[in-house]
């Protein structure tokens, strides 16, 4: 059932600079993850995406880019799926 999703994650993970990727549902439960991403952070990732939508009403959910010492994180939400890509420096 999840083969298609795993395949997409696999392809995205091959992109240079991507160190991890995680996909969550609207309840913050991890659907799939790869690389450095920890399935335990699925709740926080979904929450960040949901909270960002409150900041400004737009037709599309905003993309969120988080920069930190150990790398960067790109979060996007479409319909009920939130995806986060961990990027190494």
């Amino acid at each position: 059932m999840e083969k298609s999703l795993e395949k997409h994650l696999e392809e995205t993970f091959k992109i240079p600079g991507v160190s991890g990727i995680i996909c969550t549902d609207e309840q913050g439960l991890c659907l799939a993850s790869k690389g450095v991403s920890n399935s335990n952070c699925s709740g926080s990732i979904a929450s960040v995406a949901q909270q960002a939508e409150h900041l400004r009403k737009t037709s599309n959910s905003p993309s969120i880019y988080i920069e930190s010492e150990n790398g960067n994180l790109l979060i996007g939400r479409r319909e009920n799926i939130t995806m986060a890509i961990f990027k190494s420096d």
């Binding site: 969550t24 309840q27 913050g28 439960l29 991890c30 335990n40 699925s42 709740g43 926080s44 979904a46 929450s47 949901q50």
Partner: protein
Amino acid sequence: MHNQDRAELKRSLFKFMSNVEGLDAIIVTDRDGVVMLKVAHESVPDQVTRHQFLSVFGSMSDQASKLGLGTNQRIISLYDNYQVVQINKQPLLVTMVGSSEANTGEILNLEKDLDMLFKDLSTVIQMT
């Protein structure tokens, strides 16, 4: 347990509960469903804070542990308007009740925060 310690623990529990939007109650019980600690918003249905409801998880967890997958750790129950997340932390059981739209992943993440609390309470239960 001293009243002061209990008040301190309740304050911590309340803080954890407030960190998750839509989470309405955190109840810590022993294996038989006897309430050790409880924080709850007024909006939470009465029955979920009672022994009759809370004690069911102990039996559910025992049965779930017989499915050949090892000891049951958590059970998540999703209803129309509510969700109930229950965690087996022998000898304690933790029941968290929230709205159906609350972030289940964040509720599950609270387990890490609650671990320190569990150590103290578990010692008290084992001594009695």
